[in-house]
Amino acid sequence: MKYTIPAQEVMCSGHKACQGCGAALAMRYALKALGPRTIMTFPACCWSVIDGPFPYSAVGVPLFHTAFETAAVVASGIRAGLDARGEKDVNVVAWAGDGGTFDIGIQALSGTTERNDNIIYVCYDNEAYMNTGVQRSSATPWGAVTTTTPPRHFKKERKKDMMAILAAHSIPYTASASVAYPEDFIKKLNYAKSIEGTKFLHILATCPPGWRSAPEIAVQLAKLAVQTHAFPLYEIHEGRYFKMSMNPAKKPLTDYLKPQGRFRHLTEEQVADMDRMIDERYSYLLEQAERSKPYFDAKKETK
């Protein structure tokens, strides 16, 4: 059989993820792409639980549990240690949730990025602090309900644009991905592996308990997030040049919102508001991609 993603399984069964967990899928794909020659660092996040209690582990690669705010710097420390020993073929990956990236880990990530340490930083974004019982984070989208933003006072702030913050550090590669498109995610990881410097990947991971959706539609939701333009897939090279990974025809936003309990309270006007915000952002990305076309054309020619 011809596989569209690598056949090797580094992650093992028996991990403690919920049914239909997007984060577990993201890890499975990441390890397929990176292989066993990888060292990971986890801050406090869902994955520090999913991995299992001492003395067991589910990832199948060496991994270091760090403090909540230090995933990125511990990874750069590991890279410095590997460099001192002359080991060049090992991938160092910081693997953090949205809380450990958008809120608590941002200063360490910013420092690592500024030094341009040679690591891959993967943020699996389930859009709230799911591990501790669904509290709002700065990655929670506008309109969503969490335990700290109940339906009457749903989240009125937009999702933080982490990709733009990282791109403003002029890092070589920033990309967003979705668990519904593993081929695309693996392609991006392979590219990240091939270049030097800090690489940031932002992957949308569905969370059935936190999003209050059925576990069986986890992958469908991740797909709809991209198809309704709520979570666009794009890359930023050198912090300046944008490239859309896919540009699907827009589906109605309600397709994405309806199956999720966290958006159930929204009125029609509020959904229209949300749609406008999404369109605004998407057209900005398309403009940027249009502007960056000459850069990618020139790159293709030199190859």
């Binding site: 992650m11 069964s13 028996g14 403690k16 577990a24 991995d51 003395p55 593993p182 059935p208 992958v219």
Partner: protein, 94 residues
Amino acid sequence: MSDEIKWKKESDMPLMAMSMGRMTVNKTGSWRNLRPVIEKEKCIKCGICWKFCPDVSIRLDEEDYPVVDLEFCKGCGICAVECPKDAITMIKEE
């Protein structure tokens, strides 16, 4: 951290507490309410169920038909939804 690591001397051992076991000791099949059943006649061997299984509990046999490992399957039902030929149905666990 493969299964066959063995230390010959004391000095080979790690300096800090280190997890050496694998989570395959945790049989997550007991979490399951619904069980996936695959109809071989409808299966087109596309491997999509294998691709989207978050619990790594679907493998492909010698003829490329998917086989569910019921020791670990948590019964999330992603495979049944993603199957393009509706060859997987979820039935209630007794």
